[in-house]
Subunit: 582 residues, 2 copies
């Protein structure tokens, strides 16, 4: 095997074209080994094997610097830069992350997991090079799907100002995660259809030089193209047309399904992970589909991750014009739903907690200053959510809940979640965000409230004494267990409160607790800094009430087990019991 | 006067062309009256008078809906929609804000003060219209300067997906606040130079139909153009070439200076506001210029507001390649400085607190996960900063200080500010943000620390007993005064602490205070929710220490006097004294 001999990119430079093609096959075998057993990003990596080989054949990494966007096409790069074992040998799977990672290799310059960042990051490398008087090549790799993101468009617009060596590889496989959305994709098609010759050219319109490579999976053609731009003295886009999923038929055919995969059977393509039982993605989709059929003013908006709320292709078709995928354009999505609400529509925008980070300003300015009644559904906002450092869902409480006018709700069970969602869609007074529960689908027998218009009104689920537990959202069940333990230990029932509202405090209720309580425990599924519990601590600051805040430490964590993190932060009923009776 | 008769746009529709031109002159007189006495956005409004008249002549506002970007070209619109008195009569100046404002008029759809939002907001109005089956025209107005912003580019890319009536007016005066930066401006020039005919066309490349109007200050030409697109059945860009400052020679000539003005003498163009004395803009500029001369790796980055740190045109020239204006592209700026720092440069990016809101995700993902040593200078981050609801500098503490890895510093005086800035530029371990003081230039005789590498180490400025005052940044001087009052009242000196670090707590020092203190007072120049003081309240939550947090209420405030807001929030030494000895 050639791949066995490759420990750094220099090792491939004496290979013949035939050998490089053989190497491509071997890389695909490695990808297949890891992906079929561990899962990961499938289609984009299969499509970028040849380009990666050509890049490392032509350029001298790490002196020449390649920056990958979102990292979903960086696996072959990892294999060529000393990390092949993590693909070939199962026992080394855990050696690496799914993203470029400077801690793993000097060939990785940034830890990247959000889209649309490579051009701007690479512009920075180029500018520093110029300031120092160095001469290396700086290369940004970006997929067509990522081009619709504001950060990428800002970066591409700026790039021509560099006036020095800068190479942008646009990896165009004519797909985002799902199909692309946005007018620029018509231009990419026109460029592909004209072999790059059509006069109207997005990249040239952004002030950049341009080169097209039709055969984006042909190593020789790519080497020729990259050789021709190596050491160029100005910024240029090299637009290459690749096949998403190349080399694995199911992935070539069903591109959306195979963008990312769980472990699967290579022969049949069937997933080995069979999830049975209820799940909020599908339930949210079903709810919204029904709602949209009943009311033509309801509209569901996503930003390139439609299945985060269950909208697979058939469901999107069913929703028709009442479903909008804006592509990777979260800022636009939030501003647009403000406009929809302003003109009498009932919009619901859903994406992952981590991707809402793109929209702080739009939530504040476009939505909340204008107080328009749009609904934001915040997915995987939890320690139980995605556990890669670039996709953590544990920061949205400090980020969003301190924005004035926003009503941010944390449901504690399935029935409450859908009651909140329904209330939010039908009310016309507030911008509302809702954390979709992330701790499994928990049902309740209790009647949940239908109306959440009494803003910041907490709900007492159990009236007790001495200790009050204020347990927010996903951590409500921990609060319930803690209550049981306290009763068992002391013989007295503690008070158990479901605050529901993350964005404010129920002063009357908190004031009332002073009468026959000495301790308040808060629980929240996110970092403590800037979070919910601190508001309670501030409220009681000058009183005799003892306040114990439980939540996560403010830090970046990576590839963790939720239970470990909870224990480290002493967020178990048993440990909390220890603390408050210490 | 014609303007006297105009109470709503309908009133201008029977005017002849001659009368409309006369109306334009009268509108300029009104603008001149208000701007010369009160100040405001000058150049963009002077340039957009004819287009505003033509828009309201052709379209039927408020049924047809016009959305203005950033509001800096909305003054003539205000005059035509029932608010002329606020321009003509001095006693009515305060009737209106400087921004579009739905509370003022049904012709305003959003309260807008940040750039690059109009297309996305208007897309929302259009989508809701389509859902409801209505037929009105939806018009987004956007200046060329705003086009470089990611939100605008996302919106323009998305617009073609609407497939229904949607009109984007690009008001191209070939200027941002300062000169434009970015490759797309070469394309706008090519379009202007070719009378809109050049084949390579940014807007067409984004999938949009296109029309060019060379005479953007000619009412007849504009009416013709707008009539031709009225009730169009698909999205189109109408690119009009206007003259910034049109009608006032100084503003036509010195476009950057006259983008925004303080009260001025009409005859000479001289500002009536003469500021003498020290100011942090100029001092920061002088410091950075010196630093850049000494070290070619230092680079200053701004996003379209170069003078927020004093970089006027001559200073920008002096800095040469070590100064970068990225245009309105804050996301790009933050990602780029991360890249610059990664490759050995020493970047400093400065903008206003309110505009940093655009960069939450870039600060978190591009900068802080990667832990690159870039410096962010946060300007007008204070209750003493800009007082329009869209430009408030009182939210950056909750927004930024809860992002892991970031070191956010709050200097308490001039010497400390420059010491922190110098330390930040020279260190290579942390992403650092610094709040530029905003309470006037306060000097100290004390020796300030040069090294801030002992992260989260607070500084005791006065060792005392019973009460500890932890006074952050701009509010340090309030803390000093409070300390004096306490001594006077009780005969005992309180402890006075300068925390310096917003992003963390000095556990050892706080623990030590328990020995001989019973009360802790925190002071911060920003909202309390998610802020600095709450971290202190959490720390002492389960102890006997009484904690009193002072800061602002979480709310959107508009056109306030700082002293009023401080009093409302009881942030004066006297009121705090009352509270803690109540």
């Amino acid at each position: 095997m050639f791949i066995e001999k490759v420990n750094s990119p220099a090792d491939i430079r004496q290979f013949s074209t035939e050998q490089l093609n053989e190497l491509a096959s071997e890389i695909r075998e490695g990808l297949m080994n890891r992906l079929s057993k561990k899962g990961g990003h499938c289609g984009p990596n299969f499509g970028f094997v040849e380009a990666t080989i050509a890049l490392h054949y032509v350029f001298n990494s790490p002196v020449d610097k390649i920056v990958f966007d979102v990292s979903h096409q960086s696996y072959a790069h990892k294999m060529l830069t000393g990390r092949k074992d993590a693909y070939i040998y199962d026992e080394h799977f855990e050696d690496i992350s799914g993203y470029t990672n400077p801690e793993e290799s000097e060939h990785d310059f940034f830890n990247v997991g959000h889209t649309s960042t490579s051009v701007s990051l690479a512009c920075g490398l180029a500018k520093a090079r110029d300031l120092k008087g160095d001469k290396e090549n700086i290369i940004a790799v970006i997929g067509d799907g990522s081009l619709s993101g504001g950060e990428a468009l800002e970066g591409i617009d700026f790039a021509s100002e560099l006036e020095s060596n800068f190479i942008i590889i646009v990896n165009d496989n004519d797909m985002s995660i799902a199909e692309n959305h946005g007018g620029l994709y018509k231009n990419l098609k026109a460029l592909r259809d004209s072999d790059g010759k059509c006069e109207c050219n997005l990249f040239k319109a952004m002030g950049l030089d341009y080169k097209y490579v039709a055969e984006g999976n042909d190593i020789e053609a790519l080497i020729d193209a990259f050789e021709s731009v190596k050491d160029i003295d100005h910024p240029i886009v090299v637009h290459i047309n690749t096949l998403k999923g190349k080399g694995y038929k199911p992935a070539e055919t069903e591109k959306e399904k195979w963008h990312w995969c769980m472990p699967f059977d290579i022969e049949t393509g069937n997933s080995k992970f069979v999830f049975e039982g209820e799940d909020y993605d599908d339930m949210t989709c079903d709810y919204l589909l029904k709602k949209m059929k009943e009311d033509k003013k309801v509209v569901t908006v996503v930003a390139a991750v439609p299945t985060c709320i269950g909208f697979t292709e058939d469901k999107r078709k069913e929703a028709g014009k009442q479903f909008i995928d804006v592509g990777i354009a979260e800022e636009h999505a939030v501003a647009m739903v403000s406009g929809i609400a302003k003109n009498g529509g009932k919009p619901v925008f859903a994406t992952h907690s981590s991707f809402f980070q793109r929209t702080y300003d739009q939530i504040s300015q476009d939505l909340c200053i204008n107080n328009n009644p749009a609904t934001l559904l915040v997915n995987t906002a939890s320690v139980y959510g995605m556990n890669d450092v670039t996709h953590l869902g544990i920061y949205d409480i400090p980020m969003m809940s301190n924005i004035p006018n926003l009503v941010y709700l944390a449901p504690t069970n399935c029935e409450e979640y859908f009651a909140m969602l329904d209330w939010s869609i039908e009310q016309d007074k507030y911008p509302v965000a809702i954390r979709i529960p992330c701790n499994g689908v928990v049902h309740t027998d209790k009647v949940v409230d239908a109306d959440y218009g009494d803003i910041n009104k907490y709900r007492i689920e159990q009236q007790g004494e001495d200790v009050a537990i204020i347990a927010l959202g996903d951590f409500y069940q921990i609060g319930e267990k803690l209550a049981g333990l306290i009763t068992k230990k002391t013989g007295k029932n503690p008070t158990l409160i479901n605050p529901r509202f993350i964005t404010g405090i129920d002063k009357e209720m908190l004031e009332g607790l002073k009468k026959n309580h000495t301790k308040v425990v808060t629980l929240e599924d996110g970092i403590k800094d800037g979070g919910f519990g601190e508001k309670i601590a501030r409220f009681y600051g000058a009183s005799d009430m003892k306040v114990y805040n439980y939540g996560l430490k403010k830090e970046f964590i990576d590839r963790y087990l939720a239970d470990d993190i909870l224990k480290e932060n002493r967020i178990t009923p048993e440990l909390i019991l220890e603390d408050i009776y210490a």
